[in-house]
């Protein structure tokens, strides 16, 4: 570790030797050296496992310091920096998605945001400044029925199969009582799937519907793991609800 690691890297810049570090995301290895493959700040993560003593060298996609307070409004998000969906869903990453179609055996969703997978299922991830920093604005616009525009084609599509909805009583699942079109769900990626769909699962307590509107069109609040209620009319509706934090 004689050579110092640069603070900022551009693609093709040599960062260090493979004998001193192991290569993390945003880097690649060539001729026993680690090179940056994207532009961004260089982060050295301390070694995590006992077997691998080398610290991990990675180039962060997230440029720290984008002011999260400004990006809460959708209007300023456009003027400042567009949210970038260039974190792809990978196996085990947690995503937020909107239900677009409910069928007997499966529901189709379109993935809105891939949450930071360094801190999976952690709500604090939302606070971390990232490309996903204006999740709130994405969700509020996405949960509005008027905003179900044709932009779904630009989003990654995913399926939740009937047997992946919940962990218990899998055979009693009725899709209509789990999801409705327009719901925002939190799910975990099972596999990259086939040519057009990713496969998601919601079979965990913290996964499921996070935002939904009632038949009357009001935003509902969760009352149990399988029911949400309309605050205005008081009517309850069945959902596979994610555990609120």
């Amino acid at each position: 570790m004689t050579t110092s690691v640069p603070k900022l890297a551009i693609p093709g810049q040599r960062l260090g030797s493979i004998s001193a570090y192991s290569a993390g995301p945003g880097t690649h290895v060539q001729q026993s050296n680690i090179y940056a493959s994207i532009a961004g700040p260089v982060v050295v993560d301390p070694a995590i496992s006992q077997t691998n003593k080398k610290s991990i060298l990675r180039v962060s996609r997230i440029v720290a310091g984008i002011d999260p307070s400004k990006s809460n409004q959708a209007s300023s998000a456009a003027s400042k920096k567009k949210p970038r969906y260039n974190t792809l869903p990978a196996v085990d990453s947690i995503v937020l998605a909107r239900v677009t179609r409910v069928q007997k055996r499966q529901v189709t969703v379109s993935i809105l945001v891939v949450l930071d997978d360094t801190t999976p299922a952690n709500p604090e991830a939302n606070q971390a400044a990232s490309d996903n920093d204006n999740i709130a604005s994405i969700l509020t616009t996405a949960a509005n029925p008027e905003n179900h525009s044709s932009t779904d084609e630009l989003r990654f599509q995913a399926l939740i199969r009937k047997e992946d909805v919940r962990a218990v009583e899998k055979d009693r699942v009725v899709m209509d009582e789990m999801f409705r079109v327009g719901d925002i769900i939190r799910g975990s990626v099972l596999s990259l799937g086939d040519q057009s769909f990713y496969y998601l699962t919601t079979a965990r307590n913290d996964l499921g519907v996070v935002m939904a509107r009632s038949e009357a069109g009001n935003m509902m609040f969760p009352v149990s793991w399988k029911e949400m209620r309309d605050p205005v009319t008081g009517a309850g509706e069945q959902r596979k609800v994610a555990r609120p934090y």
Binding site: V29, Q30, Q31, S32
Partner: protein
């Protein structure tokens, strides 16, 4: 955009498993002695059958069939067309005033000919006319065709093919070269199309001109006295051009060769499986230099190697299904000296990056050197009887 084909090579990705690709790569990259799937030597071409003048309605035509069943037909048609004097030439004539210097400006235009007089269209089954592959191939072949300029001062071919197309100041020939691939492209079709085009152009005849000078062109009806577009050495043409050696010293249409590098080996005329594991693919166009007798380079283009788009193999150490089945020390990544990548032996990794300059230089040298592949191919084509 969805219907747009992926460019030149992507549609050619063969359906080989990572294990097959790795096996192929290993056998092709054996130092000095690559083992090709069909047992050819690195510089050997696939056997082919060729015939010329098969289409009576054309000025020249040829058919070549490879042993694997891919066939191509090329027809060459020529039309007389009025030369449109360019704006620039007109301007220079007008601007020059009363002095007779305008002659100079217009003769350069007339002698030079114009690249757009040669039109090339390639039809490949399964591809639209404006897909990337046919466009790329036709641009590549047309470029070397019109780029070849003769150096022999006293032949008809000064100015190359373009110069040959000039009839007089106001008239010229327009050449249509239509290439038809008769079967699905099994391999990258460039060598087949280029060889067929070469033969078709060799057999192309233009009617003998009877008019003289700046008259409107007027041709001899007798097809028997028609002249070859590319003059040949046979006595019937009567086109005697000084040749000091026994070597045919006539301008010949260019040939485009497909060359790949795998590891440290350089391999010619790759078939579909071989090109799928290539580190670098070059299309090299050559022609024979009329004066010096050696070969001359006309153009080089890189072709996107399909190996970049292949599916990677998974080493056992990362394979979930093999967890515990093998000791993790079984496959240790070693440095591939050619690509500089860490690779587990026997596990396929898609190629990335480009080619070293030394590799490119070596590939060109193998084509151009005396007694090299380029001469062999041109001599072989010369041997095809043009009736």
């Amino acid at each position: 955009m969805s219907n747009q084909r992926q460019a030149s090579s992507a549609s050619q990705v063969p359906h080989l498993s990572p294990a097959e690709l790795s096996y192929l790569y290993t056998s092709l990259s054996l130092p000095k002695t690559p083992i090709r799937p069909d047992g050819r030597s690195p510089t050997q071409f696939r056997p082919l059958t060729a015939e010329t003048n098969i289409l009576p309605g054309t000025n020249g035509s040829a058919r070549i069939g490879f042993a694997d069943g891919t066939q191509a037909i090329v027809g060459v048609k020529a039309e007389v067309e009025k030369t449109i004097l360019s704006n620039e030439t007109l301007a220079s004539e007008r601007g020059a005033g009363p002095e007779p210097t305008d002659q100079e400006g217009s003769t350069t235009a007339a002698v030079g000919g114009h690249g757009s007089w040669v039109q090339m269209s390639i039809e490949i089954p399964g591809f639209r006319d404006d897909d990337a592959l046919p466009v790329f191939l036709s641009e590549m072949m047309r470029e070397s065709l019109v780029g070849a300029v003769g150096t022999d001062e006293n032949s008809d071919m000064t100015g190359g093919l373009k110069g040959r197309l000039v009839i007089n100041k106001r008239w010229h020939w327009r050449l249509y070269i239509d290439v038809l691939l008769l079967s699905q492209p099994l391999a990258y079709p460039l060598p087949l199309l280029s060889l067929t085009t070469h033969l078709a152009l060799l057999s192309t005849k233009l009617p003998k001109l009877k008019s003289q000078g700046e008259e409107d062109p007027f041709f001899d009806d007798d097809w028997a006295v028609a002249e070859y577009l590319y003059p040949r050495s046979s006595p019937s043409t009567g086109a005697k051009i000084s040749s000091s050696s026994s070597r045919p010293s006539f301008v010949r249409p260019p040939v485009t060769l497909l060359v790949i590098s795998v590891g440290e080996n350089i391999i010619f005329d790759p078939n579909r499986e071989e090109i799928a594991v290539a580190d670098a693919v070059l299309a090299i166009s050559i022609t024979r230099d009329t004066q010096a007798g050696h070969l001359r380079l006309l153009s080089i283009r890189t072709v996107d190697p399909p190996s970049r788009l292949t599916q990677p193999g998974v080493p056992n150490s990362e394979n979930v299904n093999m967890l515990g089945a093998v000791a993790p020390t079984d496959d240790i990544a070693v440095l591939n000296p050619v690509t500089g990548e860490e690779e587990v032996p026997g596990v396929w990794r898609p190629r990335r990056g480009g080619a070293k300059r030394s590799v490119i230089s070596e590939m060109v040298k193998t084509v151009l050197k005396k007694g090299g592949v380029g001469e062999e191919v041109l001599e072989g084509l010369e041997g095809v009887e043009v009736s």
